[in-house]
């Protein structure tokens, strides 16, 4: 078995806003349907709440924080699922069930197995 992180890229929405309720319910249905393969998941607050952290120079250098990610984008990272699957084809099958796959895109990345 291998693990894949499925990153959802969608419109940069506030998931708890009332107009998102219907879509959120779709995500919950996905979670129930693929409960066996989904090992962890998270939804993120909109990118407007993000803080970018950089350490200047080397370790121990001054910490510089900036507001927001980079620029306004149409699609932002809005959540993730940790999927356990036999191979890439099974992972893709699961990822294709995430509503983000048709509203936006899902990036599937293999997770390096712990030694």
């Amino acid at each position: 078995m291998a693990q894949y992180l499925a990153l959802t890229y969608t419109a940069d929405v506030d998931w708890w806003a009332p107009e998102q309720a219907e879509e959120l319910a779709e995500y919950r249905r996905f979670g129930v349907e693929f409960a066996e393969q989904v090992k962890a998941s998270a939804v993120l607050h909109p990118t407007s709440t993000a803080t970018v952290v950089r350490v200047e120079g080397a370790r121990g250098g001054p910490v510089v924080t900036t507001d927001g990610p980079y620029a306004e984008t149409k699609e932002a990272l809005t959540g993730y699922y940790l999927i356990e699957a036999e191979d890439l084809e099974e992972a893709v099958r699961v990822a294709a069930g995430i509503p983000a796959a048709w509203g936006g895109a899902v990036e599937v990345r293999p997770v390096i197995a712990a030694k």
């Binding site: 036999e86 191979d87 890439l88 990345r109």
Partner: protein, 412 residues
């Protein structure tokens, strides 16, 4: 000696693909299997030109490649880089060669892995040339018009992705084939097109890509004889290949279809191509696909004795269907040419306006304007065609002649 060496090298290259296909399954790692087959090939290249080719070259290479794989695995284990459960080591000490059925299955696995939809199209082509055709990164770079370094990097990344993301080494289920075959067929078709584009002598590489593409098309068809799409791809390639002896004249210049000496067309290839096309059409329930339609167009040209005897209405009908199922500027241009050949030159000229500009479009417009005796404009269009094409374009001398001819006519 040199010729003998070439024969040996060719045997090794063809056999190498079969051995690689099985070895990847056994050791579960593309890179390791490739290294082992490479080392076995080097051993054979060192020995065979001196000792002669052994009575069973396949068995010799198979057993040698397995031994090399064991060596590599042991070296890895000694360095402590990889842990293995030893099952594949036992498998590798076998003496017997796999049965044909097993090898065929492994070859299909290899084809579908190289052409997996999760890999980018150029990566699929590079992998196919490396693992299925046994070409070197330098040769592949020539085909893909890039550098050897870039090709090597692309191949390394592809193998890393196959391993890390676990792209399965598996033949898709029957129900998945319609979804998975187009990527495989596109790789084979693009190889043939790449080989077909340059004229003899001008090719930047020493590989007969057309022959490689046909070899792969034959292989895919023999492995999946009931599938209409691979059958149609093979038909299309054979029907196109049949015209090859007439495509270039003694001076190495491209001869356009209207001027080709049809007695040079290979009737055996045409016969096989037509039979395969019919077989493919009988097996498909859906409407004709792009390969079937292109093969049907080539077959229609092959059926008649001369350019003037061409049934242009039938050709237009086939292009109408082709543009519908698989629209492309090339297909639309060819359709316009066919429409002009039915006598509808003005209609054709009007249709040209809707097609994106290209060097070929200028050349076509020039020829059509000349039919309306608008020679000055025709010469200008040919000049534009020359200006917008790369300097080594195979039709450059032909277009220069046509431009000069139109200029002369414009003066009188």
């Amino acid at each position: 000696m040199n010729e003998r060496y070439d024969v040996v090298a060719e045997t090794i290259r063809i056999e190498g693909t079969r051995i690689l296909a099985t070895l990847i399954r056994t050791v579960g790692n593309v890179q390791l299997a490739e290294d082992a087959v490479q080392e076995a090939a080097l051993a054979a290249l060192g020995a065979w030109p001196v000792t002669g080719v052994p009575p069973e070259p396949r068995a010799w290479l198979t057993v040698t490649a397995r031994r090399k794989a064991i060596d590599i695995i042991r070296r890895e284990q000694a360095r402590g880089t990889k842990e293995r459960d030893g099952a594949d080591l036992i498998e590798l000490t076998k003496r017997e060669v796999e049965t044909e059925a097993v090898v065929q299955d492994d070859l299909l696995r290899l084809i579908f892995t190289c052409c997996h939809p999760s890999l980018s199209p150029p990566t699929r082509v590079a992998l196919a040339l490396r693992t299925l055709c046994g070409l070197s990164p330098a040769q592949i770079a020539g085909v893909l018009l890039t550098t050897e370094v870039a090709t090597t990097k692309r191949l390394v990344r592809a193998r890393q992705k196959i391993a890390a993301a676990r792209i399965p080494y598996r033949v898709p289920a029957e129900a998945e084939l319609p979804e998975r075959l187009p990527a495989v067929c596109a790789v084979i078709h693009s190889l043939y097109t790449a080989g077909h584009a340059p004229t003899e002598g001008e090719a930047a590489y020493d590989v007969d890509l057309c022959a490689e593409a046909i070899r792969l098309a034959e292989l895919l068809h023999s492995l999946l004889p009931d599938q209409p799409t691979p059958t149609a791809v093979l038909a299309l390639l054979l029907l196109t290949e049949a015209r090859r002896p007439a495509r270039v004249d003694d001076a190495g210049e491209v001869v356009t279809l209207d001027l080709q000496d049809r007695s040079l067309w290979d009737q055996d290839l045409i016969g096989r191509g037509v039979a395969l096309l019919n077989d493919s059409l009988e097996r498909s329930a859906r409407r004709a696909d792009a390969y079937q339609l292109q093969a049907a167009i080539a077959a229609e040209h092959a059926r008649v004795p001369s350019y003037t005897a061409t049934d242009w209405r039938e050709i237009v009908r086939l292009y109408d269907l082709l543009v519908e199922v698989s629209p492309s500027p090339a297909a639309e241009l060819a359709r316009v040419v066919a429409i002009a050949e039915t006598g509808e030159v003005d209609t054709a000229l009007k249709l040209l306006d809707e097609i994106p500009t290209s060097s070929r479009k200028y050349a076509v417009r020039g020829e059509l304007l000349a039919r309306r005796s608008r020679y000055a404009e025709a010469a200008d269009e040919l000049q534009q065609a020359l200006d917008t094409a790369p300097p080594n374009h195979p039709e450059r001398p032909h277009r220069e002649r046509r431009r000069n001819y139109f200029r002369d006519r414009a003066k009188t």
